[in-house]
């Protein structure tokens, strides 16, 4: 790290256009958040790919662990009644 000047890693999120969510596009190193925004603009929006950028220190992100994949996402696995297809409605009922 120190050789790189110790610039921390930032993750970059782009809103491609109005009406869409920000989406993760990659990462970069910068000395601070403002520089990260400028670098993100130069690196990830050279062809108008974005109208809004978020940068987040990679070390500030908390992520689920893939090792716990099954137990962690299990609560939603057996709740089929959360989906509209769970319910039988006769074909002759309109607009439902």
């Amino acid at each position: 790290m120190s050789d790189q000047g110790g610039w921390p890693l930032y993750e970059v999120f782009l809103r491609g256009k109005r009406g869409l969510n920000h989406v993760h596009v990659g990462s970069l190193h910068a000395a601070d958040a403002e520089m990260a925004l400028h670098h993100a603009r130069d690196l990830y929006t050279r062809r108008n790919e974005g109208v809004s950028i978020w940068v987040v220190r990679a070390s500030d992100i908390t992520a689920s662990s893939p090792d716990e994949k099954d137990p962690f996402f299990k609560p939603s696995g057996d709740k089929v009644y959360r989906h509209p297809t769970f319910y039988d409605i006769p074909d002759d009922v309109p607009h439902i």
Binding site: G5, D32, M35, R46, R47
Partner: protein, 334 residues
């Protein structure tokens, strides 16, 4: 839930193999065999280094571009190469590699970059030929990598391939313009083609019989086609483009083979490729020296930026109201 399920190495490996078999992507925090990880880091780093070193042959011509239009195009292209290097270093870092280590590995010659960038760009026609042949070969290599089994690499490759298309087209257009010019200009184009054709065929790597890792890489979805398959595809794509341009590809054995449905081509000088990879190409020393100098000369900028950031941070802590609101304003209404 019953007893804690034991996750053994075998379970993890089985899950990994299953993900590969279903043609799903491996993502950064997944378990992966150590050899898959190290191969991936090596491949992505080598690719990133190639993009970075690849700025040099053409970058030399930016100040001597023949018109403002060509200068703007070349500048944008070289800027893209830097961007591609950054996307790829970013992908390598998701595997636990450290950016500074990768840079050191490059400037200390512990990791390789594509042999093609060890050849000089002697005239402005080289800018066109690099775009047409070198970027054309790179596209052949890279399009299948958009389906690499490693997610971050595949996603970086999708971005890169979109941008490479501009690189190839600007090169071909430049050459068409020169071919419509004087005899001297046409000779420059032919000379650049003569020098670049064989090295661009070498970009696909050694022949399959001499590429021991290909089988494993194909099984892991790291590689989708063999070196020889991609080389053949490139030749087949390029011959008609050369005819249309009006240049001769410097290979007397090059001819259409009706039976195979492909162009036959002459033997590549693999000794030359080995020599260039071993560090004995025309520009190896120059390319690395330039990269090393750029790194050393940039050291004060990296340090100054960090010192500035630390100072800003301290001031903000002492006087929170001075914090710039515009940085956070955009993210406040998530």
């Amino acid at each position: 839930m019953t007893a804690e399920p034991m996750t053994t190495e075998q379970d993890l490996e089985a899950h990994f193999e299953d993900t590969i078999a279903r043609d799903r992507r491996i993502e950064p925090r997944d378990w992966m065999p150590p050899k898959y990880r190290s191969n991936m880091v090596r491949q992505i780093a080598q690719h990133a280094h190639s993009e970075i070193i690849g700025m040099q042959p053409e970058g030399n011509w930016i100040t001597r571009a023949p018109s403002l239009r060509r200068k703007a195009i070349l500048l944008a292209k070289v800027q893209d190469e830097a961007g591609h290097g950054m996307y790829l270093y970013s992908a390598a870092e998701t595997l636990g590699a450290d950016r500074a280590d990768l840079t050191r590995a490059l400037i200390e010659s512990r990791q390789k970059y594509s042999s093609i960038f060890n050849y000089p760009a002697l005239s402005y026609a080289d800018v066109g030929v690099i775009g047409w042949l070198v970027d054309g070969a790179a596209i052949c290599n890279q399009v299948p990598l958009c389906r690499s089994s490693y997610g971050p690499y595949a996603r970086a490759m999708i971005r890169i391939c979109k941008e490479e298309s501009f690189h190839q087209r600007q090169g071909y257009e430049l050459l068409m313009t020169m071919m419509r010019g004087t005899q001297g200009q046409r000779d420059m184009v032919q000379d650049a083609v003569d020098r670049t054709w064989w090295p661009s065929l070498m970009m696909f790597g050694p022949p399959d019989a001499d590429s021991p890792n290909t089988a494993q890489s194909m099984r892991w979805g790291v590689k989708r086609h063999t070196n020889d398959e991609l080389r053949q595809r490139f030749v087949d794509m390029t011959v008609p483009q050369a005819e249309r341009l009006g240049v001769t590809l410097p290979d007397p054995d090059l001819r259409w083979n009706e039976e195979r449905g492909h162009y036959d081509f002459g033997p590549v000088d693999w000794d030359e490729l080995k020599a260039v990879i071993a560090g004995n190409g025309p520009c190896n020393a120059q390319r690395l020296a330039r990269r090393r100098a750029a790194h050393d000369e940039g050291a004060w900028v990296r340090e100054a930026a960090l010192a500035h950031a630390a100072k800003q941070h301290d001031q903000t802590r002492q006087n929170p109201s001075s914090e710039r609101s515009r940085l956070t304003a955009g993210a406040s209404n998530v």
